[in-house]
């Protein structure tokens, strides 16, 4: 465990300083042989099962360890390259993802392609053996730190909207790539906007087949829904225990808030839901282990944890009372304003990685077999 880590953004003054710390931490984890637990051995992983990967993630969270810097490369893009990449691509990219030598971001959403991702209009055409890319991406996590981008582009405008897409692996240092910060409601800029002006990408950087990008991207999205929640229940449980600790000391009508019968009910409900989130996750991962890749059931996990976190943060606000709203900077703020931040941050949970509405569409259509609604 590295020193100087006390939770979110605690390791540096700026976002960049903090990220450099997380990158150094991942390098150490990698040197210890713990990055990419479930990746094949020939690409630098441990060749373990997905369940073992989840156990490792949980243990990291339980120990209060910092997250790994290259989170998208490790959980989403790496597995997609393993599934669809050529041998040359695997040799070129995978070990550098594990060592955090190259940070990855995901160029999926666009201003006019959010839930309707296949409607994206960033286009690429071949010119002298290279793709020329033009367009705009948005909500790109880690765009500012990334060396590489898994970019979905339209390569055949005449095809049906799901059929004309291709995934490119784009060097973020290429001429014509512009990264702008996108400030979110928490005040932070976790995300970026990406602009591509005549960016040239070698043809060998196509991931999967040309015009088969929807299938490749879908694999990434399913990994996102399936694995984003892994270990999350441990973080929630740690937060819950901290909230209980506070509830035992905060006065409410002359007694600890933890004795308030209404708050006790709400706390017990949140505890139950965190516990059920853990159990759902275990069952879901067992299924993935059995079938190989995550299926549409992963939408159930995403739906559950994102909506639970919003209920959780609201209960935390009620337990903490009027000081709950104080942000970092006030001496009366609990835990340096962590709870006020988490309350706002949770609001994004039901939107990022596919809105709750999209998850319910997926469950309705692909899990329950209801007719397509759009």
């Amino acid at each position: 465990m590295p020193s100087g880590w006390e939770g979110r953004n605690s390791a540096g003054e700026s976002m960049e300083e903090n990220f450099a710390y997380l990158r150094a931490w991942q390098k150490r984890v990698h040197q210890g042989g713990w990055a990419g637990v479930s990746w094949p051995r020939e690409y630098g992983g441990r060749g373990a099962t997905l369940i073992e990967q989840v156990i490792f993630t949980e243990e990291m969270a339980r120990a209060g360890a910092p997250p790994l810097a290259n989170v998208l490369g490790l959980t989403l893009i790496g597995p997609t390259i393993i599934a669809h990449g050529t041998e040359t691509q695997k040799q070129r990219f995978l070990s550098r993802i594990l060592s955090a030598e190259e940070i990855w971001c995901q160029g999926f959403s666009e201003p006019n392609a959010g839930s309707d991702l296949a409607n994206l209009s960033t286009e690429a055409h071949l010119e002298d053996g290279r793709f020329v890319v033009n367009g705009q991406k948005v909500w790109t996590s880690l765009g500012w730190a990334a060396d590489w981008c898994e970019l979905v582009v339209r390569t055949d405008a005449s095809a049906a909207k799901h059929s004309g897409l291709t995934v490119l692996l784009v060097d973020m240092r290429s001429p014509g790539v512009e990264v702008r910060p996108l400030r979110q409601m928490t005040g932070e800029s976790e995300f970026n906007e990406l602009f591509f002006h005549d960016v040239r990408v070698p043809a060998e950087n196509v991931l999967g087949a040309v015009n088969d990008g929807w299938n490749v991207a879908l694999g990434t999205l399913m990994h996102e829904r399936a694995t984003l929640g892994a270990g999350l229940h441990v973080l929630y449980k740690r937060q819950f225990e901290r909230l209980v600790e506070l509830a035992q000391t905060i006065d409410r009508h002359g007694a600890p808030a933890s004795r308030d019968p209404v708050l006790r009910q709400k706390l017990a409900q949140i505890y139950s839901e965190i516990e059920i989130m853990r159990l759902n996750q275990i069952r879901s991962i067992s299924r993935v282990n059995h079938h190989g890749t995550p299926g549409p059931e992963s939408s159930l996990q995403k739906l559950f944890w994102s909506e639970l976190n919003q209920r959780f943060q609201q209960v935390a606000q009620e337990v903490l009372g009027p000081f709950s709203q104080l942000e970092n900077g006030s001496e009366f703020a609990f835990d340096h304003g962590q709870w006020a931040y988490s309350y706002l941050r949770a609001r994004g949970n039901t939107i990022e990685a596919g809105t709750s509405e999209i998850q319910r569409n997926i469950i309705g259509r692909f899990v329950l077999g209801l007719p397509r609604s759009y």
């Binding site: 706390l267 505890y271 059920i276 991962i285 559950f304 509405e357 469950i363 329950l368 007719p371």
Partner: protein, 371 residues
């Protein structure tokens, strides 16, 4: 690590899934619910012949000696078929209590062999699910007073009763001279699992356990019965979901199946989430109780608190998806909706179990540590 069902458990599930809807289809459920006791000798004999009455009891008592996860597997299918009558009270409640009492085990053979149907009389006017709430006193080996909301009493020939004597809680078997016991139906929402008041007028009773022994056996039996109930509730949710999705695919309005509308799809998606989450909680609690893990009692309460609200909510949405049809007597969903309410109440509702959870995870520091 094994997070799914074993092959043997899968086989049991298939067998239960085949047996209960075949031997007790919903038309039979409807017939039995109009009969006092919802009991049919022919159905009971088939249940016994298939060994279901002995599922969790040791082979020396004539049982199959299976564990609590297997119990949950079977209970889920019974709940899906809405099995009426005295099975649950006999095996999962009274049978489990007898099994937890050294002096009770000799009576298990009659239960496994189907010769006795049994129930547990616990609640009184205080309507309290903890033995502390019991006020009935045993005096000179005789019980007087009235027990309320006793399930399946009309079909039971072995009546267990929680009472107290000298400040100690006790479990007694009531010997039943008909002139000292009066059983009356308490008409209630779930007609497939009927409730009765049982009035004793100096009815002779044999004490099976008292004090700590009785308390521990009651705790254990109630926990197991609660898990069986939650598993049954999961089966009920599963059935409502199946019926609703099927209806949404076939019922047409505005020229298309209503399942094509997102408002309907999203109701169904939420029903699936509630059902699967309840299932996760139910099976974990069964496993935890079977293994005797430190968090087993909390796991039981988590499952019951969650499923109590989930079953009702799945019922609400299922009826909504069915529209006007869902509000008719002819449609089967209300039978499940009625069972959902009775199950929500039995062995403590969500608020009761959340308070039980709070006593561990909000009050006790050590117990709140990550499992």
């Amino acid at each position: 690590m094994q997070f799914g069902l074993t092959d043997t458990q899968q086989m049991l599930k298939h067998e239960a899934r085949r047996f209960f809807p075949a031997e007790c289809p919903i038309s039979e459920v409807r017939r039995l619910m109009e009969i006092d006791g919802a009991y049919d000798q022919g159905l009971w004999r088939k249940i016994v012949e298939h060994g279901w009455t002995g599922i969790i009891f040791d082979e020396e008592h004539g049982g199959m000696g299976l564990g609590l996860v297997e119990m949950a597997v079977a209970a889920e299918e019974m709940g899906r078929a809405l099995l009426p009558g005295p099975y649950f009270s006999t095996v999962f409640v009274a049978g489990n209590l007898l099994n937890a009492l050294p002096q009770g085990r000799s009576r298990l053979k009659a239960i496994c062999e189907g010769r006795a149907r049994a129930t547990l009389a616990m609640l009184e006017e205080s309507a309290c699910w903890e033995p502390d709430g019991v006020g009935m006193v045993l005096k000179n080996g005789r019980l007087s007073g009235t027990k309320l909301l006793v399930p399946d009493a009309a079909a039971a020939d072995l009546l267990l009763c929680v009472a107290r004597s000298g400040g100690e809680v006790l479990v007694a078997q009531v010997c039943s001279p008909a002139d000292r016991i009066r059983i009356r139906r308490m008409p209630s929402l779930d007609r497939t699992r009927q409730l009765y008041s049982v009035a004793f007028d100096e009815a002779p009773a044999e004490v099976l356990a008292r004090g700590e022994g009785a308390q521990a056996a009651l705790d254990r039996a109630m926990d197991i019965a609660t898990v069986a109930l939650v598993a049954e509730m999961v089966g009920g949710m599963q059935r409502i979901l199946e019926l609703s999705v099927e209806y949404a695919k076939t019922r047409r309005q505005f020229g298309k199946p209503i399942g094509q509308f997102q408002s309907v799809q999203h109701q169904c998606a939420d029903m699936l989430l509630l059902t699967e989450s309840s299932r996760s909680a139910a099976y974990y609690a069964a496993w935890a109780l079977n293994e005797g893990t430190a968090d087993a009692r909390t796991a039981v309460s988590v499952a019951k608190a969650y499923a109590s609200e989930a079953y009702r909510e799945v019922g609400n949405r299922g009826i909504q998806v069915h529209g006007g049809m869902g509000f008719t007597w002819e449609n089967d969903i209300h039978l499940y909706y009625r069972r959902a309410k009775a199950s929500e109440i039995a062995f403590g509702d969500a608020a009761f179990h959340r308070e039980r959870i709070a006593r561990t995870v909000v009050d006790g520091r050590a117990a709140a540590q990550i499992a």
